[in-house]
C-alpha cells in the first residue's frame, strides 16, 4: 500500500522528466525548422568559428538527429541521448561537454539555494508562528512592516541594493563571483572562508526576501489554527503555553506551509537564477545567462532540463514526506 503510493508519485516524476525532454525537443522546432541545426550548418559552411570544432559538433548532431530521418525517429534518438545524460558538446566552450559544465555549476547552486531555502523557511515559519502568538514579546510586532515590504520585491533587486550598500559604499563584502579571482578551488580553510564571504550577499538577498513571505504565510495559518477546537481543549487540559504553541498550533499550521513550499520551489529557483546573474555567482544561473548570450543552445537545453528534473525530484520527495507529517493523508489515496 505504501509502495503503490510511492510508485505513483515516482510515475508523476518520470512524466515530468519526459515532458521536460520533449519540451526541449519540440519547442526549438516550433518555427518550422530547428534553429540549432541551422546555426550549426551555417557555421560549418563558413568554415568554423573562432572556437573550432564546429564540424565535430555538426557531425554529432547529424548523427543524433539525421538530415532526412523522420521526426519521430529523431525524437526517439534524442530521448535515448537524454536518458544517458548526453547533451552534446557546448557550442561556445568546445570541447567541453554540456554535462561537464552543468556538473561544475550545479553544486554551487545547490549549496546556495538549498541552504537559503531551508534557512528562510525555518526562520520565517517560526517567526511567523511567534508573531501570531499573543504571548510573544511585544517588540516583535515591529518586525512585521519591514518583512512585508521586503518580501514583495524580487530577490535580485534586493541583491542590487545590498551590493551597493555593503560591497560598494562600505567595502565589506565582495561584489561578485563565487570566489576571489585567481584563487584555486581546494578544500582548504582559506578557500572555504573565501567562498562563504562571496556567498553571503547572494544568500542574504534571498533569505531576507523569502523569510518575510514564509513568516506572513505562517502567521495566517497560525491564526486559523489557534481558533480551532482542539486548541481550546488543549488549554482546558491545563497544558503549558509552550506545549500548546508547539504541539498543537505550530505542528498543525506547518502542514499547509510545507505544501506551499512544494509549490513555491519553481518560483524560488527562478528568482535564484536572476540573483546568480546579478552577482556573477558560478552556478547554473550564470551558466544559463552566458549560454543565452552566446547562443549556446545545447547548454540552454541541458540546463533547463536539469533544473526541471531536479525540481520534479524535490517535489517527489516532499510528496512522499507529506503523509508522514499529516497522518490524515493516507498513503492509499492519491
Amino acid at each position: 500500500m505504501q509502495a503503490a503510493y510511492v510508485a505513483r508519485r515516482f510515475g508523476v516524476f518520470l512524466l515530468i522528466v519526459w515532458l521536460a525532454a520533449s519540451l526541449n525537443f519540440f519547442l526549438p522546432r516550433l518555427s518550422g525548422q530547428d534553429p540549432v541545426r541551422t546555426k550549426l550548418l551555417q557555421q560549418a559552411a563558413l568554415g568554423g568559428y573562432v572556437q573550432g570544432g564546429i564540424d565535430e559538433m555538426t557531425r554529432e548532431y547529424e548523427r543524433q538527429f539525421g538530415l532526412d530521418k523522420p521526426l519521430w525517429r529523431q525524437y526517439l534518438t534524442y530521448l535515448d541521448g537524454v536518458a544517458h545524460l548526453d547533451f552534446n558538446y557546448s557550442i561556445a566552450n568546445y570541447p567541453r561537454r554540456v554535462s561537464e559544465l552543468i556538473a561544475d555549476a550545479l553544486p554551487w547552486t545547490l549549496g546556495l539555494l538549498g541552504t537559503t531555502t531551508l534557512l528562510s523557511f525555518a526562520i520565517g515559519s517560526f517567526l511567523g508562528a511567534l508573531l501570531a502568538w499573543p504571548g510573544a514579546p511585544r517588540w516583535m510586532r515591529w518586525l512585521m512592516p519591514p518583512l512585508w515590504a521586503l518580501h514583495a520585491i524580487p530577490f535580485f533587486l534586493l541583491g542590487l541594493i545590498l551590493t551597493y550598500l555593503l560591497a560598494f559604499q562600505i567595502p565589506l563584502l565582495p561584489i561578485f563571483g563565487g570566489y576571489s579571482a585567481g584563487a584555486v578551488p581546494t578544500f582548504s580553510w582559506r578557500f572555504i572562508t573565501d567562498v562563504l564571504q562571496h556567498a553571503l550577499l547572494p544568500a542574504l538577498s534571498i533569505i531576507l526576501v523569502a523569510t518575510g513571505g514564509w513568516a506572513l504565510g505562517m502567521r495566517g495559518m497560525m491564526v486559523t489554527t489557534m481558533g480551532e477546537d482542539y486548541v481550546t481543549f488543549a488549554e482546558a487540559k491545563g497544558l503549558k503555553a509552550p506545549t500548546v504553541f508547539l504541539r498543537y498550533c505550530l505542528r498543525n499550521a506547518i502542514l499547509p506551509q510545507v505544501t506551499a513550499l512544494a509549490l513555491a520551489l519553481g518560483q524560488i529557483l527562478s528568482g535564484a537564477v536572476l540573483v546568480e546573474v546579478i552577482f556573477g555567482y558560478p552556478g547554473i544561473g550564470t551558466l544559463l545567462f552566458q549560454a543565452i548570450r552566446e547562443n549556446d543552445h545545447f547548454v540552454i537545453q541541458g540546463v533547463v532540463f536539469t533544473v526541471i528534473v531536479a525540481l520534479g525530484f524535490t517535489t517527489f520527495v516532499l510528496d512522499v514526506i507529506y503523509p508522514w507529517l499529516d497522518p490524515r493523508i493516507s498513503y492509499r489515496r492519491t
Binding site: 515532458l19 533587486l157 551590493t163 551597493y164 537564477v273 546573474v277 546579478i278 540552454i300 533544473v307
Partner: protein, 282 residues
Amino acid sequence: MRGILRYFRRNPSLMLGIALLASLALFVVIGGMMVDIEDARPLSAPTLRAPSWDYPFGTDRQGRDLLAVMIAGTPLTLRIGFIAGFLGVGIGTVLAFIAAYYRGALDTVIRGVADIGLTVPGLLVLIIIAVSLKGTLTVNQMAIVVASLAWLYPTRTIRAQVLSLRERGYVEVARLSGMSGPAIIFFELMPNLLPYLAATLVNAVSAAILASIGLEVLGLGPIDAPTLGMTLYWVNFNAAMINGWWWWWAAPTVIIVTVFLGLFFLTVGLDEIANPRLRRSA
C-alpha cells in the same frame, strides 16, 4: 465620498496600494508632458552623466536620458504585465469554470496539466520559448509569451473556489429550476467570485511583470525597447555597479520596487474584501 474614506481607514493596505500605483501613474503622465520621450533613445544626451538639473535621473552609457527612459519604459513594462495577466486570468477562468463545473475527464485533464505545469519553473520554460523564436521579441510578443504560462496558477486557484461554491444551496436551486450550465456559471457563480477574481488578477499581473523583467534582465527581451528590465540588463552588461554609475540602476530599482509594493498591497487589500475572515484580527 466619506464612505469611501472610512473604508480606506479600515483597509489601509488597499489605500496604500492604490496610492503607490497612482503616484506611479502620475509620474508617467506628468513626466510625459514635460519630457521628450525621444530622449529615451540612445545618443540623445551626453553619456554617463550623474543626476543634475538638466538630467534629473542622469544618463547611461549609450546616451539615453534616464528620466525619459523611466517615463517611456514604465508603461511598457506595465503593459506587458497587464496583457499577460489579463490573458492569463481570462483563459484561466474559462478553464477553471469548465473543469470545476463539468468535472469528469475534462477536469482531470485540465487539473493535471495545471499541476504539472506549476512544478516546472516558469522562467525556464519562458527562456526556452524566447530562445526558440526567431529574432528578438517585440513588447507585445513578449506579453503573449508570458501569457502562455500565466494561466496555470489562476486556473488552479479559481477552480478550487468554484468547486467550493458549486456545492452551495443556490447553485442546486438554479440547477433544479432548469438553468443551463453556462447560465449558472454566468449569473450565479461569477458574481460571487468577482472579488476573488480581482485579487487573482492583480496577483497574475504582478507575476507577469516579474516574469517579463526576469526575461529582460537575461537579455531575452525586446532589445530596443527602454523597458525597466532591459535597463537593468544594460546595467549588468556594462558593470554599472563596479563603475560607480549608481544612478543607472537606482532609477529602475526604485520604480520596480514601487510597482511590486503597490501591487502587493493592492492584493492584500482585495483579499480582505474577498475573504472577510481575514479582516484585521489581533
